[in-house]
């Protein structure tokens, strides 16, 4: 029988997923520093929900449970979703979002390798549409809060929605810079005066910049480990920078500068961790460039003209739809063939 090759040298799927999780750790540490330990609760909740939902669905679909749970892809989805949600999100929000991501967006399409859409982004989009108010209210970073919550307060708030008696909800939450910028612009304020607000940091959101920087660190690790290819983050960031620069150049009073867009919201999480999901993304090198550039442009347009403060989730989902088309039209030239 001919079953060569007899040798392999490849990381397992589990190893790849574990490295992605490892690359998220700096971001999580920064997150805890900026927003407190509540995020750890969200991550734990999401992880448990994801594994339970995955196991249940695998059982219903009569698939072997252990090898598929061990591939860790569900955990990656859970962590990404938890990191995309507002800190201190109520427990049921995390559970519902994760459940939807794993059950509907992943398992019902056939499980790992078969989902056409990024599961974490599907979960996020469903929550954003269903619970827009909770999803757009972010707590102020600890260093800005009038009454910083300790971990027990956060835990209590996540599970029961109850705050310490002397604190009101409005006192701990505020709009995100992207959101704030948008609403202030509609009130005919100028960008320069808007970013005087204390919620803005040097480039993006105060505090948020730190997390963004940590994501960049993790992303560089993934690049170095060859878990992700350079095409996706490069094209995404370049497209986002280019389009925001173009708008900024035309009217700097009305449009924020490119650095703000790169450092705000989920830009870098998207660049290194979300659009790099191989299953729902394109496979050809040229396709990856087009895909990522598309996400970058759409993200910007949704941020500036759309109804939601950040556009990453919808941009990714829209571009996911285009993947088969992109792949079909970006086939590389095969050895010995003329240009296709």
């Amino acid at each position: 029988m001919n079953r060569s090759p007899y040798i392999t040298d490849a990381p397992t799927v589990s190893a790849i997923m574990l490295k992605v999780l490892l690359a998220l750790v700096p971001g999580i540490i920064a997150y805890v520093w900026i927003y407190g330990g509540g995020i750890l609760v969200s991550i734990t909740l999401a992880t448990i929900t994801a594994l339970a939902a995955e196991a249940a669905l695998l059982k219903i679909r009569q698939r072997p449970i252990k090898p598929y749970l061990m591939d860790m892809s569900a955990v990656v989805t859970a962590w990404l979703l938890a990191l995309a949600l507002p800190p201190l999100a109520p427990w049921w929000l995390v559970v519902v979002g994760t459940f939807f991501a794993i059950v509907i967006a992943k398992q019902l399409y056939g499980g790992l390798g078969y989902n056409p859409f990024n599961p974490a982004m599907v979960g996020y989009a469903v929550l954003l549409i269903s619970f827009p108010l909770i999803m757009t209210k972010w707590p102020a970073p600890l260093l800005l809060a009038e009454h910083p919550l300790n971990f027990m307060d956060q835990l209590n708030y996540i599970f029961s929605g109850v705050l310490p008696t002397d604190i009101k909800v409005d006192a701990i939450t505020s709009a995100t810079p992207l959101d704030y910028l948008k609403t202030q612009l509609t009130l005919k304020h100028e960008v320069a005066s808007i970013i005087e607000s204390p919620i803005f940091g040097m480039y993006g959101a105060k505090g948020g910049e730190v997390i963004t920087g940590a994501y960049l660190l993790g992303g560089l690790y993934l690049l170095q480990q060859r878990i992700i290819s350079w095409h996706l983050p490069t094209a995404f960031l370049a497209a986002l920078a280019t389009i925001s620069l173009a708008f900024y150049a035309v009217n700097p009073t009305h449009f924020a500068n490119p650095l703000f867009h790169l450092m705000s919201g989920a830009s870098l999480l998207c660049a290194f961790f979300i659009i790099t999901d191989p299953v729902s993304g394109p496979t050809t090198p040229r396709g990856k460039l087009y895909f990522a550039a598309g996400v970058g442009v759409l993200t910007y347009l949704i941020r500036v003209y759309g109804g939601y403060p950040d556009g990453v989730a919808f941009a990714v989902l829209i571009m996911n739809m285009c993947v088969p088309l992109i792949d079909a039209h970006t086939q590389p030239r095969v050895f010995g063939h003329k240009k296709p």
Binding site: P5, P67, G113, L289, P332, F335
Partner: protein
């Protein structure tokens, strides 16, 4: 756009250090495991107790046996002569007696037995008459023709008869001879050792081949993990038109098209051969065999084989063809305890041998004793996560993840569109797959399916052609009859019409005469013809729907006899059955052909019997292959 991508890719990958070498896409770096078998010199393996010589040791037609059981033969005597152009002779590796001509298990992935000549050596090892040829003073055509008798085939593993590669018809335009000494597969060291020990003879062989091809220069490509071999070859190369070029170690640089690209920056078009661009490739061991054939008259009776892996003393041996594997294993100190089986070839493209008794053949460059510690059984395959590592590793720049998807879903047309047949089955994709998917097996399966379908289609086309001829003949005969009929009608009315009716009746495949004269006798003739046709079609072929309907109407209108109705009914039944077969036949044809067939079927009845007889076998075969491939590659949990 592409330029930018390439530039960026090169920046990240690090620009190639050797500017002489033109890299191809992908490739992998497996651990080479070559040092194990290069510590000892090439040794001559003793003559075994019996030699089993398969007739099928090369690509092409099997040679014709020239000896009988009981014949005494001398060393180097031809036992089987080449038959047809693409064929190679088999010679006696030593002197002795032909003890059997029978089916034996041969070293082939199928593990099936095939025709072999068994020779019992007499131990004297007496050479027969040898005829060295002074190649410098002999006509090229005579030299190449004599090579046909040498039994020499490509010893790199491809086993293509060598004389065909040198056959030029006097208009050779080969300017460069590439000598493939890359030996990129792990474990294999037979070419390495040959170059270290016999560089002088190899260089003489290269000179002969260069002369035969009329090439201007020759380039010897050696991977940089064989510095001793490269040094030996450089030292032996004295002329200026012979160049040793060291290429970076990267599997599969030993693939001919990849090597030509590496050395010459020539990308051979996928539908062309290397000679179309003026390049011919020979393996190092092959040129040595050519040298020994002209210089000493020695035909191809032995080769260097690496025995390595889980044996005590891995080494290279000069082994007579037909030597049972167990003798070679014993010479290498025997196997270590946990040996499970043997692999012929390298770990990237080799295959499992059925047992220890199979003979060493012309293709056997390496035998690896396998053990779980060396080659771990693959873990169960996981789903493809589209990570495209396979695409990065593919030396042909294919998209293995797409091909896998198409092969798995039996979408063969699409697989062909994505250039499945450019796949060289090097195994790089499986080597880097995180999900441990046996990708190459999927491609082999898809290829065999497509080839089987193409064969079936060819058979169907042939049948259709035959049917068209038959219909044309019927049409012609009908016209001739009509003409005759008209002549007779003029000659004598009553007499002629009776004759016409009987003639129509006897003609089984006739159709109703289009010529309708308003007479009673003619109507009777038409009825008779309809009966005859109904019976005939019941036996041979099903008419197309339109015709059947018309005929049925005709039959019920005209005939009231029970016999007639029964005939109509059974036609209907066979129609249903044969329609089903026609559907199967049609399903395996390509869309284009289907359209054509439908257009034809609208006009003429399809000769389904003709197709089903030949095609049904093909379909069964296809199903069998599909079943087998499904079993062997089933990773759908």
């Amino acid at each position: 756009m592409n330029a930018i991508i390439n530039f960026a890719s090169n920046l990240i990958r690090g620009v190639s250090s050797n500017k002489d070498v033109f890299k191809f896409n992908g490739g992998v770096h497996p651990r080479d495991h070559k040092a194990e078998s290069t510590t000892r010199p090439i040794a001559k393996l003793a003559i075994p107790e019996k030699l089993i010589l398969p007739l099928r040791q090369h690509v092409g037609y099997i040679p014709k046996i020239k000896v009988q059981v009981g014949d005494q033969v001398l060393k180097g005597q031809m036992l089987a002569e080449p038959e047809g152009t693409v064929s190679a002779a088999i010679h006696a590796p030593t002197s002795g007696t032909i003890s059997a001509i029978s089916e034996e298990v041969i070293p082939h992935p199928s593990g099936l037995p095939d025709m072999c000549i068994t020779l019992t050596p007499d131990g004297k090892d007496t050479w027969g008459q040898l005829h060295p040829i002074d190649w410098r003073h002999t006509d090229k055509k005579i030299l190449v023709d004599s090579l046909r008798e040498s039994g020499i085939v490509g010893l790199g593993g491809a086993t293509f008869p060598t004389h065909i590669k040198l056959h030029s018809n006097g208009k050779s335009n080969v300017h460069t001879l590439v000598i493939n000494a890359a030996e990129c597969e792990p474990y294999i060291t037979c070419d390495d050792m040959l170059m270290r020990e016999r560089a002088d003879e190899i260089v003489k062989g290269i000179e002969i081949v260069k002369y035969l091809l009329g090439a201007e220069k020759s380039i010897i490509g050696i991977e940089d993990n064989k510095p001793e071999a490269a040094r030996a070859m450089s030292a032996a190369c004295v002329s200026d038109d012979m160049l040793v070029k060291v290429v970076p170690t990267l599997y599969p640089s030993g693939d001919a098209r990849r090597l030509i690209h590496l050395l010459l920056d020539i990308e051979i078009p996928h539908d062309k051969r290397s000679t179309d661009v003026g390049v011919q490739v020979f393996n190092i061991a092959t040129v040595l065999a050519i040298y020994r054939y002209f210089e000493f008259g020695e035909p191809s009776i032995s080769r260097i084989v690496t025995i390595t892996g889980n044996v005590h003393t891995p080494q290279n041996f000069e082994v007579l063809f037909g030597t049972p594997l167990e003798s070679l294993v014993a010479a290498a100190g025997g196997t270590k305890q946990d040996t499970t089986h043997f692999i012929m070839g390298g770990p990237m493209m080799g295959f499992d041998l059925p047992n220890e008794h199979v003979p060493i053949t012309k293709a056997a460059n390496c035998i690896i004793a396998a053990a779980p510690g060396l080659f771990a059984p693959p873990p169960p395959a996981m789903p493809c996560i589209r990570c495209a590592r396979c695409a990065d590793a593919c030396p042909v720049n294919l998209q293995p993840q797409e091909l896998y998807w198409f092969a798995k879903s039996d979408n063969f047309e699409k697989a062909r569109d994505y250039n499945l047949f450019d796949c060289i089955e090097c195994g790089c994709c499986s080597y880097v797959c995180p999900s441990d998917i046996p990708l190459v097996q999927y491609y082999r399966y898809a290829k065999s399916e497509i080839i089987a379908t193409d064969k079936a289609k060819e058979a169907a086309d042939l049948a259709r052609e035959r049917n068209d001829f038959r219909l044309a003949r019927i049409e012609r005969e009908k016209l001739e009859r009509a003409q005759k009929h008209a002549e007779r009608a003029q000659a004598g009315k009553t007499q002629a019409k009776v004759e016409d009716a009987s003639a129509n009746k006897s003609e089984a495949e006739s159709t109703v005469s289009s010529e309708a004269t308003p007479s009673v006798n003619d109507k009777q003739a038409a009825i008779a013809a309809a009966i005859a046709r109904a019976k005939a079609q019941k036996l041979s072929s099903a008419p197309a729907n339109q015709e059947l309907a018309a005929e049925k109407a005709e039959a019920t209108n005209i005939a009231k006899t029970p016999e007639m109705e029964a005939a109509g009914l059974s036609v209907n039944e066979t129609q249903v059955k044969q329609d089903k077969q026609a559907l199967i036949a049609a399903a395996i044809e390509r869309a284009k052909a289907q359209k054509l067939a439908a257009a034809q079927a609208g006009v003429v009845p399809k000769n389904v019997d003709n197709i089903s007889a030949s095609v049904q076998a093909e379909i069964n075969e296809t199903d069998a292959i599909r079943e087998k491939a499904k079993l062997s590659t089933d990773n759908k949990n």
